[in-house]
Subunit: 363 residues, 4 copies
């Protein structure tokens, strides 16, 4: 399957950056879940450009729900979210039609689609396509919340500057849920945005790391093979443009620990079992332990930079140079975090529906 | 789907550590591919325990092919690999039947299977189940080789000690294909194994990082969403026990780069287009670029250690202590690398068959 | 997966009879295939109501393509078809909101969706949802035609009246491609429509059998298990509302034959092998033989009739009576045939792409 | 997916008629379900040859369970059933190696696998492969029984002779569960077997119709699109060799009814809603209504006959004649019925697990 993911709860996405519309079809979610269009809109806003550090392109990103919602609630049948593209510059794309932008998918798209791809603004490869994921994800996030499961993502690092780690997850996730620029330490916001602006001023761009926490997720969900929780989450997360690494718990740091350090000891709490530490990020043997799920994703710097770059002319595959003009993000990490929340929420809904049945979310 | 992965070429695995047999069903691979049982056996050997640094348990790991091979070639129908468990200690498992081993899946298995799981030796969660992946993967690796695609994995780090990076990929992969302990720098072998033995002497264990390279893989394979090459590879890799992180190209390091550094410039070669650098690890927009695919996986330290650990008695979820006895690996990274090769090869075969059709491998 | 079907080429459908819009996402079809919007419109017309024998509801059924087509050709990425619902009566649905219409899905929808389903006009269960299949199917039919594969369906029987059998498949399929009322024997059209009008006059409805032929389909496509050509075709066809039976070749009549009659003898032709008879309908062991694929589907009579019917009030599940008013089809078989063509074409495209690779259709 | 079917509960099959072993992997069934090896053996016996009307080949068909059962109960992880082939004649296959048997898959296998298929005894296309379905299906049937769901299939017609219809489903299904030759009317057994023997005496073969009933299946299971209950059941059933037609409820007869006859009126019973008639076979809009599910399958006559047949020599595709010798069934319908029960049970388990969650069967 290509643009569809999920088994019991699934999402199908469609659209191109400069086509008529983009969107998503969310299928399999239980009937009877309230759909809060204001919450969807606020999530869309979190994904949108803010201030100087983002692209000058402004889309209203008004989400139209075409199906699957009746009297304000999910019907149990496919929910279709459509976002019409309004701010399309119907200009000549010039050399961007045939010069492959380094770091972008232009060249690989050419190898796959043989020149028939919609190249405008990255077409179907554009980060803009994530808007559909965010719209559908907003409903998934709401469904999880109804069951006491909360998710939040912060910018752990950006351009070499670090946010503080998660501490009290409940309040941290609460704080992140409305944060325009998702850092936990307020003082970091300014240094990070300054770093992004500095990169922009140089015609360059920066990347960073996102850290996601999920709390309230029940133990016993996931599979030993091949649909481990890590497998299905990473599958989804690696399809978000610019994600080049995914780790769970202490991830790559675990590789340097000894077992006596990495193992999370168990202890009985008042009413449940928890681990003293959480190096494994809430997942053991592919299955949730009931501890917070911790995910980190590596976001590479935005490939659109304003410096001259060596590339090929795809008409004859000859060597050439490219200088990108136009409007572009010097960083996308502050926008990507709501995409990660949304994508992860969709996967978790699917896993929960597989485990507990399709009606679980309506109970 | 649970123990089955893949779309056109798929693998289904089965078995428990101390059950009658383990194995795998490899389905969808083209007819007519020579099956070299000696090569399968040699791959099984690479996965097996070697010397002091591995478990004292010795399985012959003789692979029986039950179906799908006729006159030494694949028939195009399911190939079944069965490995009978011979070295089972039919002893009393004692407290391991109910005390959750930290870092293992005992507790999460209990939450999922409610006590009906086969707990002996980790049951279906055991690393032993990867033997089926290696057997099937051997045929996949052969199929790729026939098409000029080669794969190799080395131990980039183990217990804090580093191997050299890949340099000449062709000769490095060749060297790794028969290496018992997969390091590129021969002088590192001794320091790494000494480090593993030191951990063993302390009743502790170590983990590490694996680095995998694939050469000869054609451009234009993979999907923009949701089956990016990174997505499908990571999905498979994260189901290998102990894998807690997966990254492509420079992975998490990309997060700290600026765009002008991270972007890989294109240049025309004699007959193809390549990139000057390969920070993106051969994949852009989810699709192969024709450059080497570079993957790194984080392997956590073996959870079985000989030190006392705090845990719960799962019969009543009360606090207790556990001291693990018996035979265990102080490290599994030197065994895991052939599992990673095999798992990745299976995924790549699937992607190629989807792209070029089911007969491509027989041509 | 629910509203998505297909593996390499897939379709996702959405919408409700009286919602904002219905539609489909067609994914995985090769890039570069010309998209003929006029042909799509003409296929939509074939599905629409004609004359006295169909519902008085008239939808323009204008198909908007939201994505996946660029410069008149497929891009290789998802093609989204949207059909806005225009002729919605925003009236009080009265007792249809809670009285289960016999033969319809009202009661089973209630059991599944617990009252949250959009009941208006059958909601997501409405035959109207097949419009998305027809739109996507039109592109699939075109892609098949480009490769010399043609498909056609006629009304074999309706209300007990029979059309002649297929004879010259090439000219029969050609004739059907533009027939408003799909019978091969022109003289049957009038008797059949008279039969439908007679049923309508009695407040009743009729069903019938559709017969489909596919010519030019290559040998060697399909699987022995579980994705036999019959399996995947029937899977799709049984999801079309009102289909209650599917058979291939001589189907149920084969059950009464002896083997020496049912077996199709082979003979060499100038350049290919064919069978003397085609009792098996072009499929043996789940795989195409190169002979015409023959499918018959049973369409039950339209459940909406104007006679009083015994039913339950779903608010308290008490016994009650129902008399349906409003606009309804006394028969849908003449509209269903283009749905069957479209559905079958989508499945065949998927099978061909799996067999020969994703680019096969662009060659 | 090819030899794997199912989403939450799935089966993977493998093997060839004359290979080392055949079998199945049943995955996803809840933990804790008792596995009764005697019941499995008795189901295997029902599939086996009986008396003069079946093949002279006798396999012990001893099922070995390689994994997934611990202390007599399912573990929740894959259950592997292996049946070693013992009665293989290691003779020269002679012309059967290259002459396509009409009605069999020899020619289509050649078109798909290019001569690399294991042709011996039909290889992977052999009806023998259904033994794995019966073994896995036995566990599925047991799991359904535990939840009050019962399934039974009788030979509705064979060689033109008819059994009586289902009347009291509970006692009819009970009777069928142990019947060696599955007819409801005992007096029919002799006429049917005589008819089969007569066909055998002529070197010919007969087919027939199977009718299956499922009782106790809850309302509200299945999907409107594309995974209607009819869709998923027919998908599985059409992969059983020799099945050429599938219908639900009154099936093709519904095509000739008027709506006022075909609609099943609802009425309130003491504690549930039922329909007065069951023309729709317990499924409306793809979803179960709580009424008995009624399925009929058309089984074509066994293609192996002893009369001379016209065919092609696949080495050069020249015309030739073939006279089949050896041991073959003059009918397989009496053996196929337990395959249909098993196949249907597997599909229903999958649907129930998707609907109610993976643990539903253990409750």
């Amino acid at each position: 399957m290509k643009n569809t993911f999920g088994s019991s709860v699934s999402i199908t996405i469609f659209g191109e950056s400069h086509g008529a519309a983009i969107g998503a079809v969310l299928d399999g979610l239980a009937a009877g879940i309230p759909v809060d269009e204001e919450f969807i809109a606020s999530q869309m806003d979190l994904r949108k450009a803010v201030g100087k550090i983002s692209t000058a392109r402004h889309e209203a990103d008004k989400v139209k729900i075409l199906s699957g919602v009746f009297n304000g609630r999910t019907t149990g049948t496919p929910i279709t979210f459509m976002i019409e593209n309004q701010d399309q510059h119907s200009r000549d794309y010039g050399e961007l039609a045939y010069k492959a932008r380094p770091g972008h998918a232009d060249f690989t798209a050419q190898m796959k689609y043989h020149g028939f791809q919609d190249f405008r603004g990255g077409g179907h490869f554009s980060g803009r396509i994530t808007a559909g994921i965010v719209a559908a994800g907003a409903v998934a996030i709401s469904a999880l919340k109804n069951k006491g499961i909360h998710i939040g993502t912060h910018i752990l690092t950006c351009g070499g500057i670090s946010d503080r780690s998660f501490s009290d997850l409940t309040s941290d996730i609460e704080k992140l849920s409305t944060a325009e620029f998702a850092v936990l330490d307020d003082s970091v916001r300014q240094t990070m945005t300054a770093r992004i602006e500095a990169a922009a001023a140089e015609g360059d761009s920066v990347g960073g790391r996102l850290e996601t926490a999920v709390i309230g997720f029940p133990a016993g969900v996931g599979e030993p093979w091949f649909d481990t929780l890590e497998s299905v989450l990473s599958h989804m997360l690696f399809s978000i443009p610019a994600v080049k690494g995914v780790e769970f718990g202490d991830g790559f740091e675990l590789a340097d620990m000894v077992g006596s350090k990495a193992n999370d000891a168990y202890r009985k709490n008042s009413d449940s079992v928890e681990t003293v530490t959480n190096h494994n990020g809430g997942i053991l043997g592919g299955i949730s332990s009931g501890m917070p799920i911790i995910i980190r994703t590596a976001i590479k710097p935005t490939p659109s930079i304003y410096k001259g770059q060596q590339t090929v002319d795809m008409r004859d595959m000859s060597n050439t140079e490219l200088v990108i003009k136009g409007r572009h993000d010097p960083a996308i990490i502050h926008r990507a975090r709501v995409v990660v929340d949304s994508a992860a929420a969709l996967v978790l809904c699917d896993q929960l529906a597989l485990r507990y049945g399709t009606d679980w979310f309506m109970q």
